[in-house]
C-alpha cells in the first residue's frame, strides 16, 4: 500500500479504511488527534500502523474487515527475554557502521553499535515487534514483525544518496533517548559538505564548529573543549592516540578526509571506558575498505593532491584501503630556485587499512598511519663545502585489532597499538668529503595493548569492561653527533639533554548501562588507573555516572558526573600545535592533572525527528595544571622540570545550546556556548585567579548545507566568538634599581577584538559513466573580516603604536574531486 503526505490521525484512519475497505475501531477513548507525516512505498499495513501507533503507546489487532486500535498494555516484565545481536553494515561496501542506532520504537529498548558495528539488544519478546536500524546518512532499515529473533541479525543499510528518488519512512529515535550526553557525531559526508580552506576540508576544523569546542587561533586545527587545555583532548585514530595532529604549524590536521569514515566527539559525561585525558575524546575511525567492489577517490586543491583506493582482497572476506596525500607547493617553485639551492616545505599522509573476516565470529583489522612535515634547505651538492638543514616532524600510528564474538551477548576486541611522535632538527656540514651531522630530536613513543568486552547481561543491564596497558617512552630532548672524519670514525654519540623517561600506564574499567524502566536509564561505571613513573606510583579510582530520564517520548533529561586523572602534560605556550611543543610525563615532582566534571541537560527531538535541540549546563574543576615559568618560553632541552610551575588550578562553567536539523536536502546546526574559564597559579598574577587565555564568553557557530539540485549544493558556515585574552603592556615606570620596566596588565586582563567569519562552499557534482566528479569553490572569510591574530607594538616611531596582524583575508580556493 502506498500512503504519502501529512495527515491528521483521523484523516489517516479514514484513508486506510477506504483504501483497504476495513473498519478501524477504537478500544480507547483517549486517542489524541495528531498530524503524521507518512512516507511509505510498499510496506505492509501492519508495519505502517505500527510505525504510527507504537510511539503513541497504542497497539492494534487486525481482524477480518477491521483493525482495532487500543491502548498498549505495559510490557510484561515476565515475558521471555530474547537477545538479538549482529552487525550494522553498509549494504554496498560491506563496511561496518559505527554508532548506528538499533531500537524498538516506543519501548525504550535500544542500543548503539560499537566501534566495530556490533550491537546486542535484549528485550521482552512479543509477537509484533518492529526493529529499526538507522544512522545519519543512511536510510533507516525497518525490520517489521520479526517472528522470533534469531541470535544473529545483521542490518544492511543503504546510503540516502542512493535513494534520492525513493520514499523512505521517517522514523527516527535520536540522541534524546541515549544515556550518553555531550557527544556529537559527524560522518565524512557532513564534513565534506563544509567549506574548504585552501581546497582542503578538515576534520578538526569541522569539529571546531560544534558547541563547547573553541579554536585556539586563526587557521589552527588545535582546539579546546569546555575551558580545558589543548593537551586534555585525547585524539584517537582507530583507537590509537595521536600526539600532534598538526600539519604546516597547525594550519591543517593530519586527518585526510578521504580515509575517514566516522568522527565522534565526547565533551563530557565520559563513560568509564574513556580515560587518560580530562576534557574530550575525539574518535576518528578510518574506512575499512570496500568488501564487494574496487573503488577509488581522489582530488586536488590549491595546496595538495590525494588519492584513495579501496576494494576487496577476497570478495566479502577481506578488503583494503590505502590513501595518500601530499602538498606540492615545493615542487611548483623548485624550478625557480637559484642554481645549486634546494629548499622547500611539504607534508604527506599515508593511511592504510586491511580487514579480514576470518569467519562469522572473528575479524581482524590492521591499520596504519604515517604523517610527515618536512622543511629543508640544501646547498649545492657539487660545492666543496655546504651547509644543509632539515626540520621534520610526524606521527606513526598502527593498530592490530581482533574482534571475536563469543556469543550473541558477548563481544570482545583485542587491540595492540603503536604510536610515535617524532620531532627532529638536523644540520649537516660538509667540507671536502667529510660530513658532520648534528641532530636534535624529541620523541614520545607508546606501545599499548587492551582488551575490551561488550556484554549484554540482560534486557536491563548492558556491561562494558576492559583492561589496558601502555608503555610510554618520553624523550624530551636528545642530541646526536656523527661524522665521517677518519680520525673520529668512532664518534657517533647520543647526548640526552633531558633523560628519557619510561612509564607504565595501566587501566581497568567496568560500566553498566542500566535500564531501570522505560523512562530512566543509568550508566554507572568506574575507571581504575595506575601509573608508574620512576619510583613514583600514582593510582586512582574514577567514578563515572550518567543518567537519562525520558520526560516524554521525544524529550529527555540527562545528567552526568565524572572524575578523571591525566598523567601526561604538554609543555606549550602557544597552544597552536607547534612541533616544538613537548609532551612530558607526571613525575615525582609533578602531579597528575585531575578534574571533576558535572553536566545537566535536555535533548528534545521534534519536527518528525528532523530537529534535535540540546541544552547543557556544565561545570569543570581542574587541578594539577602546569605552565611555564614566566621566564621560560620554548620547551627547554635540559632540566625541563625546573622551568615549569605546577599545581595550577582551573575552572570552567557554562551553557551550551545545540540545534541541529537534518533532512535529505538540508542539514546544519546552530551551536552557542556561554562560558567562563579561569586559571590560578601561586606564582602567576600574584597568586590571584585570572581568566584563561581562551576564555571566550560567547561562541556562536552556524553551519548550513543545502542541496539545491542533484548537481549543486551550497554550504555556509559562520562563526562568532569573543576575542581571546591577553596580557598587554600598559605603562612603563622606573623600578627600585633605577631601571625602566614595563608594567603589564593583570594576567589575561585584555580582551582581543571579537572574531567572526563567513565561509562559503559551492559544489557541483556530476555522475559520469566512470563514477562521479565534483568541482568546488570555497571562499574563506567571505566578507574579508580582519580578525586579530596577534597584537604588537610598533617601536619604530616616536611613540609605540598598537598594530593588529590579521591572517587569512578573503581567500577563494577551488578543488576537484572524483570517485569511481
Amino acid at each position: 500500500m502506498l500512503i504519502e503526505g501529512i495527515y491528521s490521525s483521523d484523516t489517516l484512519i479514514e484513508i486506510i479504511e477506504s483504501k483497504l475497505d476495513v473498519k478501524i475501531s477504537f478500544a480507547s477513548k483517549n486517542f489524541k488527534n495528531q498530524n503524521f507525516e507518512i512516507k511509505s512505498s510498499t510496506l505492509k499495513v501492519s508495519t505502517i500502523l505500527k510505525l504510527i501507533f507504537d510511539p503513541l503507546l497504542f497497539d492494534f489487532v487486525i481482524r477480518p474487515n477491521k483493525i482495532l486500535i487500543k491502548k498498549k498494555a505495559a510490557i510484561n516484565a515476565n515475558s521471555t527475554i530474547v537477545t538479538m545481536s549482529g552487525f550494522v553494515e553498509d549494504l554496498e561496501s560491506g563496511e561496518r557502521l559505527i554508532s548506528a542506532d538499533v531500537f524498538i520504537p516506543g519501548t525504550g529498548y535500544g542500543t548503539t553499535t560499537n566501534t566495530f558495528g556490533f550491537y546486542s539488544l535484549s528485550f521482552p519478546y512479543s509477537d509484533s515487534i518492529i526493529i529499526v536500524a538507522q544512522l545519519i546518512g543512511y536510510s533507516p532499515l525497518i525490520s517489521s514483525l520479526i517472528e522470533r529473533p534469531t541470535e544473529n541479525v545483521d542490518f544492511l543499510l543503504r546510503t540516502e544518496d542512493a535513494l534520492l528518488n525513493e520514499v523512505v519512512i521517517n522514523v527516527k529515535e535520536s540522541a534524546f533517548s541515549k544515556t550518553q550526553m555531550s557527544t556529537v557525531k559527524l560522518n565524512a559526508d557532513q564534513i565534506k559538505a563544509m567549506p574548504a580552506f585552501m581546497g582542503e576540508v578538515d576534520v578538526l576544523k569541522a569539529v571546531k564548529f560544534l558547541a563547547g569546542v573553541q579554536s585556539v587561533g586563526e587557521g589552527s586545527v588545535n582546539y579546546i573543549v569546555r575551558g580545558g587545555n589543548p593537551d586534555q583532548n585525547l585524539i584517537l585514530l582507530d583507537g590509537v592516540p595521536v600526539y600532534n595532529v598538526s600539519h604546516l604549524f597547525g594550519i591543517f590536521s593530519v586527518f585526510n578526509i578521504d580515509a575517514i569514515k566516522h568522527v565522534e566527539l565526547t565533551k563530557g559525561g565520559f563513560p568509564a571506558h574513556f580515560g587518560g585525558r580530562l576534557s574530550s575524546v575525539l574518535e576518528v575511525n578510518m574506512k575499512e575498505g570496500n568488501l564487494k567492489e574496487f573503488h577509488g577517490s581522489g582530488g586536488f586543491g590549491l595546496l595538495s593532491a590525494k588519492l584513495a583506493l579501496e576494494g576487496p582482497i577476497v570478495k566479502d572476506k577481506a578488503s583494503f584501503m590505502i590513501s595518500g596525500r601530499r602538498t606540492y607547493s615545493d615542487l611548483i617553485y623548485r624550478p625557480f630556485l637559484t642554481d645549486g639551492l634546494d629548499a622547500g616545505y611539504y607534508f604527506t599522509d599515508l593511511n592504510a587499512k586491511v580487514n579480514w573476516k576470518l569467519n562469522k565470529k572473528n575479524r581482524l583489522y590492521l591499520s596504519f598511519y604515517n604523517g610527515l612535515d618536512k622543511a629543508f634547505d640544501k646547498e649545492d651538492p657539487q660545492a666543496n663545502s655546504a651547509f644543509d638543514a632539515e626540520l621534520k616532524w610526524g606521527n606513526y600510528t598502527s593498530a592490530l585489532r581482533w574482534n571475536h564474538l563469543f556469543s550473541s551477548k558477548l563481544f570482545g576486541n583485542l587491540t595492540a597499538t603503536f604510536s610515535r611522535f617524532n620531532f627532529q632538527i638536523g644540520s649537516f656540514y660538509r667540507y671536502d668529503s667529510i660530513t658532520t651531522a648534528i641532530n636534535y630530536f624529541s620523541r614520545i613513543t607508546d606501545y599499548g595493548i587492551k582488551y575490551d568486552f561488550d556484554y549484554q547481561y540482560s534486557n536491563v543491564h548492558s556491561i562494558k569492561t576492559g583492561i589496558s596497558y601502555t608503555y610510554h617512552n618520553f624523550k624530551p630532548g636528545a642530541l646526536s653527533l656523527s661524522t665521517t672524519a677518519s680520525s673520529l670514525q668512532d664518534l657517533d654519540s647520543i647526548l640526552n639533554l633531558a633523560p628519557p623517561t619510561f612509564t607504565n600506564d595501566f587501566s581497568l574499567y567496568i560500566e553498566d548501562s542500566w535500564t531501570i524502566n522505560q523512562r530512566l536509564q543509568l550508566n554507572l561505571g568506574t575507571h581504575y588507573a595506575a601509573y608508574l613513573v620512576n619510583n613514583k606510583f600514582y593510582n586512582s579510582l574514577q567514578p563515572r555516572l550518567s543518567g537519562r530520564y525520558l520526560l516524554s517520548p521525544s524529550w529527555s533529561l540527562k545528567a552526568s558526573y565524572v572524575y578523571m586523572e591525566q598523567y601526561i602534560h604538554l609543555l606549550t605556550n602557544s597552544a597552536i600545535g607547534l612541533p616544538t611543543d613537548l609532551w612530558v610525563t607526571s613525575t615525582e615532582n609533578i602531579d597528575p592533572q585531575r578534574s571533576h566534571q558535572a553536566a545537566i541537560g535536555t535533548t528534545l527531538s521534534f519536527g518528525k525527528s528532523k530537529w534535535e535541540f540540546t541544552n547543557e549546563l556544565f561545570y569543570k574543576d581542574l587541578k594539577g595544571l602546569i605552565a611555564y615559568k614566566p621566564s621560560a618560553s620554548i620547551a627547554p632541552a635540559t632540566n625541563w622540570e625546573n622551568q615549569i610551575i605546577t599545581n595550577g588550578k582551573g575552572s570552567a562553567y557554562g551553557w551550551e545550546s545545540f540545534l541541529r536539523y537534518n533532512s535529505k536536502k538540508t542539514n546544519g546546526w546552530v551551536a552557542y556556548t556561554l562560558s567562563k574559564s579561569t586559571r590560578q597559579f601561586a606564582e602567576l598574577n600574584e597568586g590571584e585567579k585570572f581568566p584563561f587565555k581562551y576564555d571566550r564568553r560567547h561562541d556562536l557557530k552556524i553551519v548550513l548545507n543545502r542541496h539545491f539540485t542533484k548537481k549543486f549544493s551550497l554550504g555556509l558556515t559562520w562563526i562568532f566568538n569573543t576575542g581571546i585574552r591577553a596580557t598587554i603592556p600598559i605603562s612603563t615606570y622606573v623600578d627600585l634599581n633605577g631601571v625602566k620596566v614595563i608594567r603589564f596588565s593583570k594576567r589575561n586582563d585584555y580582551q582581543y577584538p571579537n572574531y567572526h567569519r563567513l565561509d562559503v562552499n559551492m559544489n557541483w557534482k556530476k555522475k559520469t559513466n566512470w563514477g562521479e566528479r565534483n568541482w568546488g569553490l570555497s571562499i574563506y572569510n567571505a566578507y574579508n573580516r580582519r580578525n586579530p591574530f596577534l597584537i604588537y607594538f610598533d617601536l619604530s616611531g616616536t611613540s609605540r603604536n598598537a598594530n593588529q596582524i590579521s591572517l587569512f583575508p578573503f581567500l577563494p580556493s577551488f578543488y576537484y574531486n572524483f570517485k569511481f
Binding site: F249, L391, I425, N573, S574, L578, P579, T580, A627, Y628, P630, S631, A632, S633, I634, A635, A637, N685, E686, T727, P729, I730, S731, T732, Y733, V734, D735, L736, N737, G738, V739, K740, V741, I742, R743, F744, S745, K746, R747, D749, Y750, P753, R786, F789, L790, I791, Y792, F793, L795, T798, R800, N801, A802, N803, Q804, I805, S806, L807, F808, P809
Partner: protein, 295 residues
Amino acid sequence: MMKNVVILFVLFLTLAACTEPIDIDYPEATENLVLNALISEGDTIKTTISKSQPYTVIKSPPSLDDGDLDLYENNSWVAKAYLCERELNSSFASDTSYIYCFDYVAKQNKKYTIEARTDEFEMIKGTTELAPKIEVIVNPKTSSTFIGFTIKDNPNEINYYHFQLLSSDSTFGWTDQLITMSTQDLTIEMIGFNSEVVSIPDGENIGNYAFLTDELFNGKEKNVLISLSFSGNPLNLSFRVQSCSRSYYEFLRTAYNRYTNTNDVISPPTQVFSNVSNGYGLVGSNWDTVINVSN
C-alpha cells in the same frame, strides 16, 4: 634552535598576513604614582616617587618633587619626608631622581609603611618587615678562584637570600663558556656554583644571580663554597650576600627575570613584583654584606 623554529613560524605568519593599527582599550589606568624605598636596619630611610607613563609613550617617566610622604612604624606615624637629595638617573625624563628622606632610623623587628601622595595622585602605600640581620663569616682562603663563607641562619623565621657576583672588568669570562649574558655591570652568572652544601638545583638560578630561600638553611650554620674559574685575572671582584625581606626578594627575582627576558615574543611576560597598593613600586628591606675578593 627550537626558539628559532618558532620565530621562523611567527615570521612566516607575519609575512602572510596584513597589519593595521588598532586602538587599545586598556583594562587599567596607564598613569600611576610609583613609590620605591629600600630600608636597612640602622640607616636613615630614603625614598623616591615618580610617575608611570602609558606604554605608548616612549619618553622617560618623570621623577616627582611634589610628593607628600609619611612614615609609619608598626602602624604608628613617626615622620614626614622632605626632599633631601638629587641624583643623576638617566631613566627619568629630567635625568634626575628626587630623593626624599625621613629623619628616622629603621629598627630591627619593626614593620614600616610609607604613604605617598601628590597633587595629581591619591595616596598610595607600601609596607615591609625589616630584613633580618645575618652573620656572614668569610673564609680566609677566599681568592679570585674561590669564595667561601659561612652563614648563620636565624632560627624560627623565614629568610630570603640573594647572592650576586660582581666584577668591574669586562675581560673576565668563564673558561667553560657558561656565561649566557653579560649585563652592563658585568655581573657573572653563577653556574660555577660548586659546593657540597648548596647546589644550584636546590635553589633557583635566574640569569646571573642566585636566589635561595630559607629551606636550604633552616636555622643552621652553613658553609658556602664557590669555585670560580676565569680565563683572565679578575679585578675588583666582589661577592654580595643579601638577606632580604620577602617583598624585596620577590622584586629581585622578578626584576632580573624581566631584565633577561625582554625580547621573547612567545614567553608570557614577567610582571615585576610590586607591593605598593593603588600604585606601583616596591617598599622593601635588605641586610647587605659584601665580600671583596683580592686578586
